[in-house]
């Protein structure tokens, strides 16, 4: 086990290095750059641009810039945002909360609907409900998230006027209810897209459990249907669900980033697009490493949990 973990750790480090090299090269080699937005500033001259580039160290050879960045990173210094002038870690964590709120709410929605639908269609296998939910969740899976968002805004904000079209809260209000009203649309859009993932999984898991001996025994003992479901089906399906959640993490993050741009949600997705637009290299690199680490941790936890749950899986 220790050996296995060591190996995984080693691989992860290699992977992170690779991600950082590719990301760094892509960013810095792309035309434009952090100074191009200032070319149209009054009084700006080519000479001053050159001077600024030298100040910011952008005139050095790329490998040197990379090693410099890496060296600082290894010392725990993520650099400073060009645009925001604050430490990158602080900038990122400032936006993390909003994204987490959106992701968690989205996942809560897709989980609760998915689990309910999955169990119900397993019990009533082949029924109209089963069929319609399968089709429905597949369609939801196919809708472009950003377009789904647009349509939701059109229906619920523009036409019906029930819910706000964007933002996280109304300034000067900030009550829980206000947050909730703003959260409903983006979280639903994000959640509904993922229902299929959960409902399919729950359907299969439930079908498996229903046919197992102990459930038959339980039923023979006269336990009620609901009780069997609660005790055995959900209990048995729960742990694998955590692994599934781990695997869904990167996809969830990707979805949240897209939803944020449509709903002007002040999270990491907006930060990412803004920073990319400003060529704010330190922040983009920081976000990149952050999401890569998230993906790695997600998959590691998934594998470990899978081993814990299923003794047949041996790590290493």
């Amino acid at each position: 086990m220790v050996h296995y973990l060591g190996g995984r750790l080693w691989q992860s480090i290699v992977l992170l290095l690779l991600v950082s090299v590719i990301g760094f090269a892509l960013l810095h080699l792309a035309p434009g750059g952090p100074l191009s937005q200032f070319t149209l500033t009054p009084g700006m001259t080519q000479a001053q641009m050159t001077h600024l580039a030298a100040q910011m160290g952008l005139d050095r050879p790329l490998p040197i810039q990379y090693l410099d960045w890496l060296w600082h990173l290894l010392q725990g210094d993520w650099g400073r945002s060009y645009r925001d002038n604050r430490p990158v870690a602080q900038v990122i964590f400032g936006h993390l909360g909003a994204t987490l709120l959106l992701m968690v709410s989205g996942m809560a929605i897709s989980l609760s609907i998915g689990v309910y639908v999955g169990i119900k269609s397993a019990i009533n296998r082949g029924s109209f409900f089963d069929y319609m939910t399968t089709v429905g969740s597949m369609i939801a899976l196919s809708i472009p998230t950003f377009w789904f968002g647009l349509i939701a805004i059109y229906l619920f904000s523009v036409k019906l006027g029930w819910l706000p079209a964007g933002n996280m809260y109304t300034i000067g209000n900030g009550s829980l209810l206000d947050y909730a009203r703003h959260l409903i649309l983006p979280a639903s859009v994000l959640g509904l897209v993922d229902v299929a993932t959960w409902s399919r999984y729950m359907r299969t898991a439930t079908l498996e459990v229903i046919h197992q001996d102990f459930v038959r025994t339980a039923r023979a003992k006269g336990l009620s249907h609901g009780r069997i479901l609660r005790r055995h089906v959900i209990g048995n399906a729960l742990l694998p669900m955590v692994t599934l959640a781990g695997m869904q993490l990167p996809a969830m993050l990707g979805g949240a980033l897209v939803a944020e741009t449509v709903f002007t949600w002040p999270g990491m997705g907006r930060l990412f697009r803004d920073s990319l637009g400003y060529s704010d290299y330190p922040v983009v690199m920081g976000l990149l490493m952050f999401s890569a680490i998230l993906v790695l941790v997600g998959s590691l936890v998934t594998d470990l949990l899978a081993a814990v749950i299923d003794p047949r899986i041996r790590l290493g």
Binding site: P31, S36, L40, P42, Q46, I171, R270, G277
Partner: protein, 552 residues
């Protein structure tokens, strides 16, 4: 991030120009003490106001590299020595009066400056404001280790001397008339906030600014909003509001929606999009106003491309440009057609330039006459050069993308092929623009920044692609214009300069290095009870006079 935010201390009024150069009597000193009279009265502040920007202000040290939206915060928190109002007049702020040749503030040769300061000003942290702060500010701007947003002008300052806490003098290396308008956008920062700070780029002040202005820094929720509170010790009139909130709303449609619902009181930078104007006008409880800007929208050529070298081609393209329809249909009739790069409000504007006429037949005749004959594919060519080019602008600017496609269709009908190739802003305005790597571009530029001198744009030696330091990205070369530009820049008499600049406009209208389309006008909206809002083309942001704003 858009190409709009060019500088614009655009249009010095004629009187202003004269005042600066000491040719006539100044009248601005009168306004000098208006502020101190008001200061004696007790401040009553009430209500809060939300201003929305579609970009996020993030740079709060006004001298660090920043973009125009950041200046919204700067104007609220800081003061310059003197500001510039909507008529292009300088008004004293931290200075007791605006230095002129008459009042002895500027020597007759324009080299020696002497500024007297107010003695009743306190920083937000309670410390007194003195001449040392002014000295520190002007030194900071040219500090080689500091990531300064603007050196031009300040790098001419020599012998900076604090005479007393309320007096400062300096000498300019050479006479430089635009320096006054540069000072009008130079906010004074407190020296004591940088005491013992080794790296001024990363001073804690930069994220918790201390100023002398009408509003104080209270809170920032990154990615969302900035909250400022009234500075009740402010030396000028105002502030009248308890709180001002600068809200970041990255999408203009959402911004408009929030304005409609009342979540936003004032639509700040990038304002209301033209397609919403008709609806916005009818909104109850809102005031919606069309405000002309100094920005000139043009279709710009790279004159080094073989297709564009011939004048007849550029003339034909101009004749094929359906300006009227673009303005009426796509921009909802808001902007004014333009023939010159000079804003129509300027003292130096030439109103007698030939008027553009949209005439596809004339365009065809011009091309035929010049020997550009349609090839087998319907595209005209001459000596093996096809009349085909790309056109670029900032990706995501929807109305401009519509304009491009409309132009494309008209050009196609006369045998010219225009391909659209739009780029993200960071790419567009980098080397692609500066080093003239484009064929043609649709761009809105502010040519005139405080002074009518446009050497940076039109001097033949000002093309970065040819090693120049300016922004002559069309690579325009005309020896006569060069001569006139020199003449205009070396003269000190506005009337004399005007002659040169009128002629330059005429020459450029004839040479057509770019096809002038229109002078921008934008739609600004605010809630009815917001008082004090005054558009000012001489500043880059609507909240330039936020200290005077009130509600109710």
């Amino acid at each position: 991030m858009t190409d709009r935010p060019l500088g614009s201390f655009a249009t010095l009024s004629r009187r202003q120009a004269l005042t600066l150069l000491g040719a006539t009597a100044a009248s601005v000193a009168l306004a000098a003490h208006a502020g101190s009279a008001a200061a004696a009265m007790p401040k009553t502040v009430k209500g809060q106001l939300t201003i929305a920007f579609s970009q996020e202000p993030t740079v709060f040290n006004p001298h660090l590299l920043h973009i125009e939206v950041d200046e919204g915060i700067h104007f609220s928190i800081f003061n310059p020595l003197f500001g510039i109002d909507e008529n292009g007049k300088f008004t004293p702020a931290l200075a007791l009066d605006v230095p002129t040749v008459e009042n002895g503030g500027i020597s007759a040769d324009g080299l020696h400056w002497h500024v007297k300061l107010r003695d009743d000003v306190q920083w937000h942290d309670g410390k007194p404001f003195t001449a040392e702060d002014v000295k520190f500010t002007l030194e900071l701007l040219v500090d080689p280790a500091f990531r300064s947003w603007r050196r031009a002008g300040h790098d001419l300052v020599r012998d900076l001397t604090v005479v007393s806490p309320t007096e400062i003098t300096w000498r300019l290396e050479k006479p430089y008339a635009p320096y006054a308008s540069i000072l009008a956008s130079t906010f004074i920062v407190p020296k004591h906030a940088f005491d013992g700070v080794a790296d001024k780029n990363n001073a804690s002040f930069n994220n918790a600014p201390i100023g002398t202005g009408p509003y104080k820094w209270a809170e920032r929720v990154a990615g969302d909003h900035i909250l400022l509170t009234a500075n009740t010790d402010y030396f000028g009139a105002g502030p009248h509001l308890e709180q001002v909130i600068y809200k970041y709303v990255p999408d203009l449609t959402v911004l408009y929606t929030q304005f409609k619902t009342g979540d936003v009181d004032v639509t700040g930078l990038q304002w209301i999009t033209p397609d919403h104007y008709d609806e916005a006008k009818t909104l109850p409880g809102k005031i919606v106003q069309v405000v002309p800007g100094a920005t000139i929208e043009s279709l710009t050529f790279n004159m080094e491309r073989p297709q564009f070298k011939e004048l007849a081609v550029r003339q034909a393209l101009y004749a094929a440009l359906d300006k009227a329809t673009i303005i009426e249909a796509l921009y909802y009739g808001l902007p004014k057609p333009a023939e010159s790069y000079m804003p129509q409000e300027s003292f130096y504007y030439n109103p007698d330039l030939p008027k553009h006429v949209f005439d596809l037949d004339k365009a065809k005749a011009l091309l035929d006459g010049a020997g550009w004959k349609p090839g087998a594919d319907g595209i005209r060519a001459k000596n093996g050069i096809k009349l085909s080019f790309t056109n670029s602008t900032t990706a995501g600017n929807h109305i401009r993308e519509q304009v491009q496609q409309y132009i494309q269709q008209n050009l196609k009908s006369i045998g010219i092929e225009m391909t659209i190739s739009n780029l993200p802003p960071a790419v567009m305005w980098g080397d692609y623009w500066m080093l003239s790597k484009f064929d043609s571009v649709i761009v809105g530029l502010d040519f005139v920044t405080g002074d009518p001198d446009t050497s940076d744009f039109f001097l033949s030696g000002a093309s970065p692609a040819k090693g120049g330091g300016g922004q002559n990205t069309w690579q325009y070369v005309n020896p006569e214009v060069d001569k006139l530009l020199m003449q205009g820049a070396s003269s000190f008499k506005p009337e004399e300069r005007k002659v040169a600049y009128l002629k330059i406009q005429e020459l450029i209208r004839a040479d057509l290095p770019f096809l002038p389309m229109f002078q921008f006008a934008t739609v600004r909206g605010r809630a009815q009870d917001v008082k004090g809002f005054t558009p000012n083309v001489n500043t880059r942001i609507d909240s330039w006079n936020i200290g005077d704003w009130s509600r109710g």
